[in-house]
């Protein structure tokens, strides 16, 4: 069927008209598209560009490396050691089951590891590493590395973790670090973002927490470009943070190691303080624990063993432990009386074995009494009645004031956890806290360091140092920060009469060096090392009248918890004191028997800067001491003495 020209022309005209219409509509639409393009790309460009930047830029924190801690001679006490993890990245691993199966053949995987890893993988993005082993050994790392081609997606990762090379020796001083907990965050008012980094470690106890701001440093930041899934594509720029400050302690790690070993069998604590500077040379609390366990995350069993131990290894007894100072307080009572001018030059008092005060009988530890005693005798023999008498004359207010002057009942500024204030009671205090008036009996009890009085080993060491120097010695734990020496505090004179102090020192000298002194058996015979000290035995129970009649039960026959605390404070050398020491053995029995020998050993160790010669000991002790030194060397063989010449 051939079309006529007229037909084709007609249809063509018709098509042309409609085509023009449709074409026009199309052009109109294209114009609309162009307008939209202009709107988005020109008019709104700035806003969209901003949105695009927000999309792609992500700020990541760079955790600062934590400051290290050294002892006074430069030995490392806390450091950051590489810790190894084995991680798996799902998107690189291919068949996860197969890969983990291969891994399990190469290294030992704990039960349930595979399930945990798969569960974690399911919940996280495919490119994020999931930890398979968090605390891998070097052996495991090398095995994984060697077999790397057969283990797609599995890589060893290195991180920094806190390590305490001296282990338990510094557990109480340094404390330890651990991952930030919700509880930690709740205590911090405006937590730094760096704390939100998973596995970031902060100080939990001790110096680690008290000096946290110094040790932590400042986090850096890097701006990274991320894709839609959050994967880092490249780093745009970075701002370095500030690493934490290195801290140097005043403690001598070799000495600390010795002291810790010396007291390790007891529930005891000992403090050695430098009389000139107030530097804490040793600050030992036994038994101790390995802080490294806490860094890695302590097991339930280990933790249970620590908390269940009746010797309380977790307690930092040097600063936290409070004990009635017992007879070691007698110097304070005596000083208060001397300063008040209540003791004449040759004044003596009679001790019949007890003193009756307002109808109540107070006993001397020696039932038969000491007879006529002067000041020096009273301290040497630790006569109680003499001090009862003095205290009643002086009054509690002056005694407490003197106690505070010598560093008891006040809080010393030492960056350790739970530093206790102790207690030097006043009348007002008892009124406020007990709602009862102060009684003379309370004064009598206080005169020999019982009753309400409470002091920590640190405070007793400070007291001893202040008696030795007559100056306001204040304990210092931090020697330098980033090499900058920290200021010494409180070198001023105590403002007490030097003659009185000399009397006290002579009396303390007699306690140790006089044949009838309570600590005579613990004397030092090396001429220039002689020490002066005072024993103390503080009761933790009341001795009833009935018991007294039947004869006081000997400490050895009591259960451990009810035995007396044994205390000893001393300073040495006597003529120009360098160190002051305090030792408390919990429930150790008598101070002369349990505490004084320890004090002597650690005093000599400190003065000689290492193991003392046997000649420093009295002849008949030497064999025993030699054996003991042998034993102690076996306990603490590995104390590194960096940068210290062993003279």
């Amino acid at each position: 069927m051939k079309k006529t020209r007229a037909e084709t022309d007609f249809s063509h005209r018709h098509i042309s008209r409609r085509a023009a219409l449709l074409g026009g509509a199309q052009l109109l639409f294209i114009g609309g598209l162009a307008a939209r393009m202009r709107y988005l790309q020109v008019e709104e460009a700035d806003q969209f560009r901003l949105l695009a930047e927000e999309n792609r830029i992500n700020v990541r924190l760079i955790p600062p490396s934590r400051g290290e801690v050294f002892d006074r001679n430069g030995a490392r006490l806390a450091q950051n050691a590489p810790s190894y993890r084995i991680v798996i990245v799902r998107e690189d691993a291919g068949d996860v089951d197969e890969t983990l199966g291969k891994l399990a053949k190469i290294i030992r995987l704990e039960e349930g590891t595979v399930e945990r890893v798969k569960e974690e993988m399911r919940r996280s993005a495919p490119f994020l590493p999931v930890t398979v082993i968090s605390d891998a050994s070097w052996d495991e790392i090398s095995r994984v590395s060697v077999n790397a081609p057969a283990l797609p997606g599995i890589t060893p990762e290195v991180g920094l973790s806190r390590v305490y090379p001296q282990g338990s020796d510094f557990a109480h001083v340094l404390g330890y670090v651990g991952p930030v907990s919700d509880y930690d965050l709740s205590k911090i008012e405006d937590p730094e973002p760096v704390l939100m980094i998973p596995r970031f470690q902060i100080g939990k106890v001790g110096v680690e927490t008290k000096l946290e701001p110094l040790l932590r440093g400042k986090a850096g930041a890097k701006r990274v470009e991320v894709n839609a899934a959050g994967r880092v594509m490249r780093e745009l720029d970075r701002q370095e943070g500030k690493p934490g400050s290195d801290i140097q302690l005043t403690i001598d790690s070799a000495l600390q190691g010795y002291v810790q070993a010396r007291i390790s069998k007891e529930s005891a604590s000992a403090v050695i303080i430098d009389c000139d500077t107030g530097d804490l040379l040793a600050c030992a609390s036994a038994p101790s624990f390995d802080p490294n366990l806490f860094v890695r995350g302590i097991s339930q069993a280990d933790y249970g063993a620590l908390t269940g131990n009746k010797y309380r290894p977790l307690a930092s007894k040097t600063v936290q432990g409070l004990y009635p100072p017992g007879s070691t307080f007698k110097m304070i009572t005596a000083m208060a009386a001397l300063e008040a001018g209540l003791i004449g030059p040759d004044e003596t008092a009679y001790c019949p074995g007890h003193l009756t005060v307002s109808g109540r009988r107070f006993h001397c530890w020696k039932r038969a009494g000491h007879g006529w005693v002067d000041l020096q005798d009273s301290l040497k023999k630790s006569c109680d009645v003499y001090y009862y008498d003095l205290a009643i004359k002086v009054g509690i207010e002056k005694i407490s004031a003197m106690a505070r002057r010598f560093g008891l009942g006040i809080k010393h500024d030492v960056p350790m956890s739970a530093v206790a204030e102790g207690l030097a009671p006043t009348m007002q205090w008892k009124e406020t806290f007990h709602g009862q008036p102060w009684r003379v009996g309370d004064t009598v009890n206080s005169s020999i360091g019982q009753g309400f009085l409470l002091a920590s080993p640190l405070q007793l060491a400070v007291m001893s140092a202040r008696i030795a120097t007559g100056r306001e010695v204040s304990p210092r734990l931090i020697k330098s920060v980033d090499g900058v020496e920290q200021p010494l505090r409180g070198g001023e004179s105590l403002g007490v009469n030097e003659n009185n102090l000399r009397k006290m020192r002579r009396a303390m000298h007699a306690v140790v060096n006089d044949r009838r002194g309570t600590a005579y058996r613990s004397r030092i015979i090396a001429e220039d090392m002689r020490m002066a000290g005072k024993t103390g035995t503080s009761q933790v129970r009341n001795i009833t009248a009935a018991e007294r009649r039947a004869g006081v039960i000997r400490n050895e026959d009591l259960p451990w918890e009810r035995r007396d605390h044994a205390l000893f404070v001393n300073f040495a050398p006597f003529d120009r004191p360098k160190i002051a020491v305090s030792v408390i053995v919990e429930h150790g029995g008598g101070g002369s028997k349990a505490a004084a020998p320890i004090a002597r050993d650690i005093t000599l160790q400190a003065l000689y800067g290492g193991q003392p010669p046997l000649e420093a000991y009295p002849a008949k002790d030497r064999d025993r001491i030699a054996t003991q030194q042998e034993e102690l060397r076996a306990i603490q063989p590995l104390v590194s003495i960096n940068g210290r010449d062993q003279a």
């Binding site: 063509h12 085509a19 393009m37 790309q41 949105l51 695009a52 999309n55 792609r56 470009e225 839609a228």
Partner: protein
């Protein structure tokens, strides 16, 4: 039906036909495809694999196909119209029965050497058959109800099949192309008015069906419409595509961030960055200048096609060329509207630029037909 119907006084023969091709259109097609290669290279992070290289091979094959189709006289192709339509329809049914499910819809038949998407092919064969129908139908019968009903059935059957896959984008394109061809053929205005009215009714019905047992479209399609109407309502979910796409476009600014510097696409913020959303990459990297240039190229292709159709005194050829041009227009107009947030996200690629074999080959086939009609036009 033979060449005798064409008042051909003089027709180029043999290889000389090459000189009579509509070269401006061929060159424009190559230019647009070239822009496509560039963008595919860019979104792959500066690499010819996995997208740019296969796309270049396909374009080469497609261009050869176009030349080949152009060499064959248009009356031969016209005689195949009915058969082509029926075969495509059967393929659509075959997809329904044996097709591969991809992206939640049955769209492809795997032929071994390529995956065929019959709905793409249908865009061309539908236009061919309608053009042939209106060429055959005497002009005065065009608007009679019975003769209107036949093309409506021809359009509706494939539209329903594609809708079942489900592929809303392509079925709307088919409907629009078919309707457009009827309009060009001169069907009376009143029919269109009626269809538009009933279309509004249908949309209402679709929305009414939501949540009922006779729900007409899938949940994801509803969500896409929702988010189109208010993208900010779900910025990380379904509205994510539109929001990120607009950010990419907008951040391009006047001159763009520079080749391979588009952060949005390179960092995977954009979905389907190598297919449906490739325009956003171009707009981000080359800015307003680049985007408007591409739009300009597309417009020129349309204008040259319309010019060629108006030159052509043969009714089938004119309608075919206009139909192909309309299809092409719908392709890029819907895609651009979608990425610019003017239309809901329906899976329509950007012609010649988006990565995809089926669409590229079908488009080049269509332009081969257009060229054939141009070469063999009555002179």
């Amino acid at each position: 039906m033979s060449y005798l119907e064409y008042n051909v006084k003089h027709t180029p023969t043999g290889l000389r036909k090459i000189f009579y091709l509509n070269w401006p259109v061929a060159i424009l097609l190559a230019t647009v495809s070239g822009a496509g290669f560039l963008m595919l290279y860019s979104v792959a992070g500066g690499s010819f694999s996995p997208w740019a290289e296969p796309q270049m091979k396909r374009f080469a094959a497609g261009f050869a196909l176009m030349i080949f189709v152009a060499m064959v006289p248009i009356w031969f192709w016209r005689s195949l119209s009915g058969m082509a339509y029926l075969v495509t329809l059967l393929l659509l049914v075959a997809v329904e029965l044996f097709g591969t499910v991809g992206m939640g819809a049955q769209r492809w038949i795997d032929l071994g050497f390529m995956r065929l998407q019959p709905s793409e092919l249908m865009k061309i064969t539908l236009v061919m058959l309608l053009a042939a129908y209106y060429d055959w139908l005497p002009a005065k019968k065009t608007s009679r109800p019975l003769w209107v009903l036949i093309p409506v059935v021809i359009i509706i059957v494939p539209v329903m099949l594609v809708l079942r896959q489900p592929d809303l984008g392509t079925s709307i394109l088919l409907l629009a192309a078919g309707g457009g061809l009827m309009f060009l053929a001169g069907v009376h205005w009143a029919y269109f008015a009626a269809v538009i009215a009933s279309g509004i009714g249908l949309v209402t019905a679709v929305f009414q069906s939501r949540g009922t047992t006779w729900q007409l479209i899938k949940d994801y399609q509803f969500r896409r419409i929702d988010t189109f109407l208010d993208p900010s309502s779900d910025p990380l979910g379904a509205g994510y595509h539109i929001t990120q796409s607009k950010i990419a476009l907008g951040s391009g600014g006047w001159t763009g961030r520079g080749f391979m510097q588009g952060t949005q696409s390179r960092l995977n913020f954009l979905p389907e960055k190598h297919t449906d959303f490739i325009f956003t990459t171009l707009a981000e990297e080359f800015g307003f200048v680049g985007a408007i240039s591409l739009l300009g190229l597309y417009t020129l292709i349309i204008l040259f096609c319309v010019w060629s159709a108006l030159l052509n005194k043969d009714r089938f050829s004119s309608l075919l060329i206009l139909g192909i041009a309309l299809n092409f227009f719908l392709f890029f107009a819907v895609n651009m509207s979608m990425v610019m947030g003017l239309a809901p996200v329906v899976g329509v690629p950007l012609p010649l630029v988006s990565f995809g074999g089926s669409a590229m080959l079908v488009l080049m086939l269509a332009f081969g037909l257009m060229q054939s009609a141009h070469v063999h036009r009555p002179r």
